[in-house]
């Protein structure tokens, strides 16, 4: 099947009215949630997960993806207007976006964020198409040993490359892997950690876990602080029009940011947050007048915003072609596909090409919606920033409860959310990453199955992971990452506190 046939079959999926409507809905809701300080993309996607049970797989993924990039744009709005990053990806945007707003150039900062996000996403989609075809071809040669080794690499990379101390991150991944064991063991049918509860036989409900860890825990942590910010002033459409000098400063940072974002987004473990930080650092380095950064430089908004959007698109490469989520948000997306009985992987490109191409095209359409929607709606987003959090969060709590209940009509799951939410808050307080816990939880059963399969094939010889060249490569990189983390940790303890 050629690329053009694929694109055509994808168009027939992406242009279905239902898919278009859910894309629009996702983008709208994502922006709304991203604008609200106090709930991020993870919480938004968790909140919408129950809805995916009732719609087609394509519509579900398109909607959740829309929520994801919508939330990133919404986060930029809050960053620029209030210096309150709605999402971690847009934290760096506060550095120059907020000074621009203080100088009365808020409209131009918002325009820059909008255009850079759009350009980053569209270029990211092109990278996604090229990389996905190549990776899927490579992955058809993967066996159980390669999959197991690659997933372990993904988890180790996620816990050592990101922020936070590696030991704490890794502990969260392992805790997630343990939680993933709960339920009926696929290989033997044995009940593990169910303690006689029939409700736990299918494992811990992904929706309950995600909502507790992100929705509930984030709400608790933000009740006291979310209303302490000021109120942004209203912004008219005319303020969005940039000057010619502003426009000239955008293409360079957007292209460099997209390149960085596309690369780091596709790697497992790294993602849009890191890309946006790197892009900011790069722009400051290549600038002829680096002293302008932090004082409201357009490049400081354009680079990171294109980087995080490109990264959020190319993050779908490992998810769709290998079936392995590179970050916790992708883990939720994968969860949504698995709910529909679709196991993404190298086979999906061959077996269901219309699904893959439909998604790719929908990402483009969704980003177009985002751009069109946000020009006229900017005034509305600013008004939403003026709603106090205390009016919103009790409603969020009620919706979390009903959302979890709607999945299978079990009040048991609501009680689970209460417990998980309390644990999630304690974890955040002690600076343990709940996002990594979720990543471990989703990958756990897959790792165990592939590990057991690989060892069964090799007759119990663990050397299988070193004898097969690709698996060996993954193992070596994993070992190197762990070694680097250990060295870093030892140096850390020697320094006086």
């Amino acid at each position: 099947m050629t690329m053009w046939d694929g694109l055509l079959s994808g168009l027939s999926v992406a242009l279905q009215p239902a898919v278009l409507i859910y894309s629009l809905f996702g983008v709208f809701l994502g922006t709304l949630v991203g604008v609200l300080p106090g709930i991020g993309a993870m919480a938004a996607i968790s909140l919408l997960l129950p809805l995916t049970y009732y719609i087609s797989a394509e519509a579900a993924l398109v909607m959740l993806a829309g929520v994801y990039y919508g939330a990133q744009y919404g986060g930029a709005v809050a960053s620029i207007l209030l210096r309150l990053p709605g999402t971690p990806q847009s934290a760096i945007t506060t550095l120059d976006g907020y000074p621009m707003a203080r100088q009365g150039r808020a409209g131009i900062a918002l325009f820059t964020a909008m255009v850079s996000s759009f350009a980053g996403s569209i270029l990211g989609i092109i990278v996604l198409v090229v990389l996905a075809g190549w990776l899927a071809g490579l992955a058809t040669r993967f066996g159980a040993a390669e999959y197991a080794a690659m997933m372990v690499l993904g988890l180790v990379a996620a816990s050592t490359v990101g922020s936070g101390r590696p030991a704490k991150s890794m502990a969260m991944v392992v805790l997630g892997l343990i939680l993933g064991c709960v339920g009926t063991d696929v290989n033997s049918g044995a009940q593990r950690f169910t303690f006689g509860q029939t409700q736990l036989m299918d494992g811990i409900n992904l929706v309950a876990l995600a909502m507790g860890l992100f929705g509930v825990a984030e709400v608790i942590g933000n009740i006291r602080s979310a209303d302490s910010h000021g109120r942004p002033r209203r912004i008219g459409l005319r303020e969005l029009v940039p000057s010619r000098a502003d426009l000239r400063q955008m293409p360079g940072p957007i292209l460099r940011g997209t390149a960085l974002g596309s690369f780091f987004g596709a790697l497992p473990g790294t993602g849009s947050t890191i890309s946006s930080f790197l892009s900011y650092a790069l722009e400051r380095r290549v600038s002829r007048r680096p002293e302008r950064f932090g004082q409201g430089a357009v490049e400081g908004v354009a680079g990171p915003e294109s980087a995080n959007n490109a990264a959020s698109i190319t993050a779908f490469v490992p998810t769709l072609t290998l079936g392995i989520p590179g970050d916790p948000i992708m883990a939720l997306m994968l969860g949504a596909l698995v709910i529909h009985g679709i196991q993404p992987g190298p086979m999906m490109l061959d077996a269901r090409p219309e699904m893959f191409w439909g998604l790719v095209i929908s990402f483009g359409i969704g980003n177009l919606f985002l751009l069109i929607l946000n020009l006229p709606l900017i005034g509305m987003w600013v008004s939403i920033l003026r709603i106090p959090f205390r009016w919103l969060y009790p409603a969020i709590i009620v919706f979390v409860c009903l959302g979890v209940y709607s999945v299978r009509g079990a009040t048991f799951d609501i009680v689970m959310v209460a417990g998980i939410g309390a644990i999630g808050y304690l974890l955040t307080l002690a600076k343990f990453s709940p996002a990594l816990l979720l990543l471990g939880f989703v990958l756990g059963p897959m790792i165990e199955t592939n590990l057991r399969r690989a060892l069964l094939i090799s007759r119990g010889d663990p050397m299988v992971f070193l004898e097969r060249p690709i698996a060996c490569g993954f193992v070596l990189v994993t070992a190197a990452l762990i070694l680097m983390a250990v060295v870093k940790a030892l140096r850390h303890t020697r320094q006086p506190a």
């Binding site: 392992v174 892997l177 608790i220 006291r224 409603a395 009620v398 069964l456 663990p462």
Partner: protein
């Protein structure tokens, strides 16, 4: 010196949890062999790794100073209580009463005094919930205590 208590306790809990998981799995589930792993192998190994990681988190924390971050007890208590109310009473009292109760309890820690706005908010959320989930999505949940 104020020790890094978050890591000290966090790491300690992880050690205990890891050992408990490993011990429970090793006692109750078949470990199997390398060639044919049983259901107990993976959790036992993970429990031990978790305990080890917990140690490397807790031990250095003993010699390290750490800030103490504020624990928002009232917020945790009220939000968790609201969810528990919802989960435990939905089957007894129906959607409307449960939603209103949960919304009021959830709003208790909000940083603004007054009971009136809390009641108005709860009424608004209840109406919205009914409109979305019962009138809009037609979910089959008992609405009133007498419609059970």
């Amino acid at each position: 010196m104020q020790r890094d208590q978050h890591d000290l306790f966090g790491g300690g809990i992880l050690v205990a949890l890891g050992l408990a998981v490993a011990g429970y799995a090793a006692m109750h589930y078949d470990l199997g062999t390398m060639r044919q792993m049983g259901p107990g192998f993976f959790p036992t190994a993970l429990g031990l790794v978790l305990a080890g990681l917990g140690l490397t988190i807790a031990v250095p924390a003993w010699w390290r100073a750490g800030e103490r971050r504020g624990f928002v007890g009232r917020e945790v208590l009220c939000v968790i209580a609201a969810i528990l109310i919802f989960g435990l009473l939905l089957g007894q009292l129906g959607l409307v009463v449960t939603t209103a109760l949960a919304a009021v309890v959830a709003s208790i820690p909000a940083p603004k005094p007054g009971i009136v706005w809390r009641l108005v908010l709860a009424a608004g959320i209840t109406a919205l919930t009914w409109a979305i989930f019962i009138a809009g999505l037609r979910m089959t949940i008992p609405v009133w205590p007498w419609s059970l």
